[in-house]
Symmetry: C2
Subunit: 226 residues, 2 copies
DNA sequence: AATAGAATTTAGTGGTATCTAAAAATAATA
DNA sequence: TATTATTTTTAGATACCACTAAATTCTATT
């Protein structure tokens, strides 16, 4: 249908749009590791195909059609990630790379079969919601672990999946989605965070704590929850 | 490593080489549904990369390096076909198309995991041998069902997997690999063939019988076996 | 308001892979 | 052998997607 490049751009636009609101040429070129001029060229093409709207020098926004395709590819991606983890035991830091390629050549029939084999799941191995076939997606309201305060406990909701090193680091202390933990202490000025998972204690760097999103916060009020 | 196009050409060259011996520009262009000029262009590129040897107007032949890659992709293809059939219940007439795309983006790690999950299989759903990781492959000596004579019984060894219609047709009468059957009658001049599979009788057209390969022939001597 | 810096776009190029049309080489036939 | 037919190659064009270098536009600062 569409080229792999087009699909990757649409996916990137969706993700930047959700994270930053505005989608600039530079942010796209950075996320996809291409030169800014390449992003401009593709933006022009996407715009002609009515997949995005674009005002010169003003960034880009997905149209309904563009978002539909974007969510379709994200669905592929996340179903694949979960399938690889569940059915073939691929570790959670490796599923992303594999899915990044496979997502573009997955048939609708196989998509459905994997969906059924997994019992119609709603989350991928990193906790990210899996879009439905008709293009709707759950919006998460979880907050970075880094914004918690000492004494609070919470449940891991989602972990950013773009850096395998982060996933291995976070996985070593058992911080998988749905895992409950407690913040024992948190040093000011973005200091290290001491947490307790199950029976064991871990120290978590602030750089990592920014990419672990949590929900179900219990205990004293968090400053970031408002 | 190599482009999808290069991999598809190498795979096609391997298959034509096995079937016809000589690999002409036209046979390649036909198998890959491209113009003869396109095949000539790719042959030039493959030749420069030392993946094939080529004498102008004389056809093409895989080098050791070319065959290695070719068998690597065929291994991907057949492992994928079997995995889809076994693990996800994809019917045998659909696995080929899915594998045709996926084979190019399968990682070595996932290849190994699928291999292990399947118990290190040696045949794909159509009976074709799966090349080993180091690039060796079993040579089959089965003959077309069409060459059998009345009264003989045999076992299906391999069915050509390029035409989904043929696979559905053949599948309807249960002629899957390893299935034993008996030839009840065979009309001369490429006439229809009456066979018995399990307890039921079927009529098989000669066009199809040419693409079903059999082994383990019992009964009166077949004219094609010498 | 003028200027400096950053972001974005334009212009021109290269690699890959395809195509059509025409030329060249080989093979088949009269 | 000469002619015709088939096969293969060459020539030239298009589409896609990336790049660098330079020009343009926007933004922030003085
Ligand atoms: Mn991708
Ligand atoms: Mn993920
Ligand atoms: Mn292929
Ligand atoms: Mn097969």
């Amino acid at each position: 249908m569409y080229t792999e490049s087009i699909e990757d751009y649409l996916k990137a636009i969706y993700e930047i749009q959700k994270e930053n609101g505005k989608v600039s040429t530079n942010s796209l070129s950075e996320m996809l590791s291409v030169a800014p001029a390449s992003a401009t060229g593709m933006i022009k093409k996407l715009s002609e195909k009515k997949l995005v709207t674009h005002k010169r020098y003003q960034g880009v926004k997905l149209t309904k059609a563009g978002q539909k395709i974007s969510l379709e590819i994200i669905r592929h991606h996340r179903l694949i990630e979960l399938y690889l983890a569940e059915a073939l035991g691929v570790p959670w830091d490796q599923v992303h790379e594999e899915a990044e390629k496979w997502e573009h050549v997955l048939s609708e029939d196989l998509e459905d079969r994997m969906d059924a084999a997994l019992g119609y799941p709603t989350r991928d191995p990193h906790g990210s919601p899996i879009p439905s076939r008709d293009g709707t997606i759950l919006e998460l309201d979880s907050i970075p672990l880094a914004d918690l305060r000492a004494g609070q406990s919470a449940v891991v909701d989602e972990v950013s999946d773009h850096d395998p090193d982060l996933l291995r680091y976070v996985g070593k202390m058992g911080l998988y989605p749905k895992t409950k933990f407690k913040v024992l202490s948190i040093e000011p000025f973005n200091g290290p965070i001491k947490i307790k998972v199950e029976k064991s204690e871990h120290i978590l760097g602030p750089g990592a704590a920014q990419y672990v999103f949590v929900t179900d916060i219990k205990g004293s009020k968090s400053e970031a929850s408002q």
